[in-house]
Point group: D2
Chain length 264, copies 4
């Protein structure tokens, strides 16, 4: 029997998983509803927005709830779902150690129930970070270029900063020497957009027409390896959300990030 | 204590490893001699070419021999080194199952001795293949573009063909559906250079100025991941050769390929 | 006085140009209305769809009409506009020599009036074709890679085919020898998607997540030049449409394509 | 009759042009000698190095002399060639306005003789700069990324700085508004390698394995255009040198740069 990939090829003849979407009219929620509707192995049984009554979620028989709401409401939503025996996939931000600990407490008496909280559901971005960290110790030099639309407020991007940190940690753990750099001139000029993050240069390009792109360049004697992720629109997060919806039923307890779901 | 990376940051204060190079005047051998000379933790104690006497290798006290000779001489060289208790790193081609079995027999009574045979010492190329195979099941579509100088006789390249095979195997194992393709027109035109390898399109570009380059493109909803390897000259294989020289002393028995040395 | 670029920096203090959009509810028409609304130097005075009365266009005082309708209605629209003294910018397809000749006849008695018909309003794509044709004769090898979403029916794309034709013409005119290619093996395998167009290999990649992308690779001794155009959505045609709206008032007679408007 | 391209397809049946190389044992001179030898329409009649007697050049009957020597000797060489009626192609650096004026004086009485002085013979780099300057006014945003080996002392590179200046001039001449940039955070971090040159951000990547690469990114609504030049080794300058050798005989007087030879 062929085991199907959770991401791209769900078994079409198994039982449907019923899904509720909280924050269903938000930017991300709308996309989640559409993606669940289009997935043959999932059924959308509840769409909740704002003050609507959460009992819809339980009445609809949801097995998994997806939450893209707001920091001030997400804890209440998670509490309700755990009480009702509904698995949670959470993309809402704002979790600190205290909230994380609280969720673990709530989950303790429910050994079959799973909650996943992820800051980034983009499978491509997660893979890029993983590969960059793995490859970093084999190369003399590593630099990062991130490219975004010009309305972005922060530079470098959070994802690029995180990538640089992971690269730096991997190189430190392997005892790799700093990348060589003979640059002498130019120090007095105003620098280009970007930053050196834990020893890794991160260049930030802002260009009309672009969406969200990241490139990691690794070089050694006579060869380079380039890892590039291009995100064209919000729908790029949906495969990661659907992956989480499918997997959370088999992963009791609290899971942070989608990395472990990728089975790498 | 910091553990040093075997590839890029050898511990400078440990004892030197003495190295002999067989085929020292060949294209690759010249590069190996240069790379060993430049490595602070290695000492070049013998350079052997053609009919020169192999006892130089033993007399020089070589701990590791690197063989880039020819299929008709490599077995004799390996036999000699095993007899003398010298580890072997072999880049010469032409090994079949019978020869492999013979080497295993020779190694059986020498539990501390290691022989490594690798078809490709390019760390970047090996990483590219590994990452492509790992990522392949998370994406709807995968295609390969390989780009080489116009004097190359085969198309697609062996490395690209191997990459496509690994991608295809990974997708089959995960039960991923074939990539969608609505192409209807154009079938009657003469196709462009390249081939469909196990269901994966491999496009072959031949361009003056290029050396050896490979790109794996993976796409799903709203995002793509691109993995690219650029090899600029023969020296790009040296980090892999040095890695093998350093690691073979800790890896008794026969090792095929450098993948397992990368510790991924 | 600074002369402003017609594309990106219209003079903000000049008189507004009043614009009518025909086919205002079509895919492209909606984008045109939005773009005209957002342009500080343009005023949207009429939106016409289907059977609505064209006199709206004249009543609204339109100076320029933009037509993204259908081949069966566009000639009538152009006739009306010419009669009323309204300049036309036409993105509708389906013009043959006969229709072109007819429009020239209609324009003959109106020496101040301009009509522009363009198959492609994408400035980036037009520039890519121009640069590729200009550079082609200086390089030993030229190949084209076009990359699109997997729902595209034709391969290679019309734009890539046109690009290859222009490259081929430029090389023929300069007497450039065919690109070298030592490929011998692989001819018996099924080729990859793509075609050889007038001697120029065009590789066609189809990948989920992509939109419309084209890359021209040119190579000679020790160097390559790569020209790449990425189109992320339909709005990419709007700068070209607005350029045409602004320029057509100064360009009496019939203009085919936006190339001449770019002033290159 | 087919007119042949001066760069890639010299007429093979015309008379040979005899060439002398001054600085024949220098890094560039060696490459020039090799390139002249390999060109079917050129004949290498003299190789001069250091204190060797320049009369060799005249005795050998050279029609064109190529000078890659040193600033302190180049003026004497040019003077000698002009006196002998030999055309000059000069890649040596260090020319100021005074020296340029002197050469013009020397050329005045020789209406048929040509001297070409070029800071960069790379056709790809020259085309990249030309195309970037032409395209710059049609896009909302423009940024430059240059990538080099880590032994390079200056950052950004001279070519990238020159490219940014040309882009800035073209945008100023067209009255284009500055590129939008909402970046607020990150200003306090140490910037990444690079500089803002005349308003154009230039990012400088230094990576082991790389040689010399430059990328110009141009973006507007929904589309981007990317122009990239990759120089893999010194031989990349040879097509430009040979172009100059062939063309200088038809271009009396002083020519600065190879741009005008490209006939664009």
């Amino acid at each position: 029997m062929t085991s199907s990939s959770p991401v791209t090829a769900p078994a079409p003849d198994g039982p449907l998983t019923s899904v509720a979407v909280l924050g269903a009219r938000g930017r991300m929620g709308v996309e989640v509803c559409r993606a669940v509707n289009e997935a043959e192995d999932l059924e959308l049984v509840a769409m909740v927005e704002g003050s609507e009554w959460l009992f819809n979620v339980a009445d609809g028989g949801a097995q998994v709830a997806v939450d893209f709401t707001r920091p001030e409401s997400v804890m209440e939503n998670i509490r309700f779902c755990i009480d009702q025996g509904i698995h949670c996939v959470v993309g809402t931000t704002g979790f600190d150690d205290e909230k994380i600990a609280t969720i673990r407490e709530w989950l303790a008496p429910k050994p079959d129930l799973g909650v996943l909280i992820a800051p980034n559901f983009g499978i491509g971005a997660v893979l890029l970070m993983k590969f960059a960290a793995e490859a970093a110790r084999f190369f003399t030099s590593v630099e990062v270029v991130e490219l975004h639309h010009p309305n972005k407020v922060d530079a470098p991007s959070g994802t690029a900063t995180r990538t640089a940190q992971l690269i730096s940690q991997a190189r430190a753990a392997a005892g790799v020497a700093p990348a060589p750099d003979a640059t002498q001139e130019g120090a007095s000029l105003p620098g280009a957009r970007g930053a050196v993050v834990d020893g890794v240069p991160v260049h930030a390009v802002r260009l009309a027409g672009l969406v969200a792109h990241e490139e990691v360049l690794l070089g050694t004697h006579g060869e380079t390896l380039t890892l590039r992720h291009d995100s064209y629109d919000r729908s790029s997060f949906m495969p990661g959300v659907l992956l989480a919806v499918r997997e959370i039923q088999r992963r009791p307890g609290l899971t942070i990030g989608i990395e472990s779901l990728l089975g790498l």
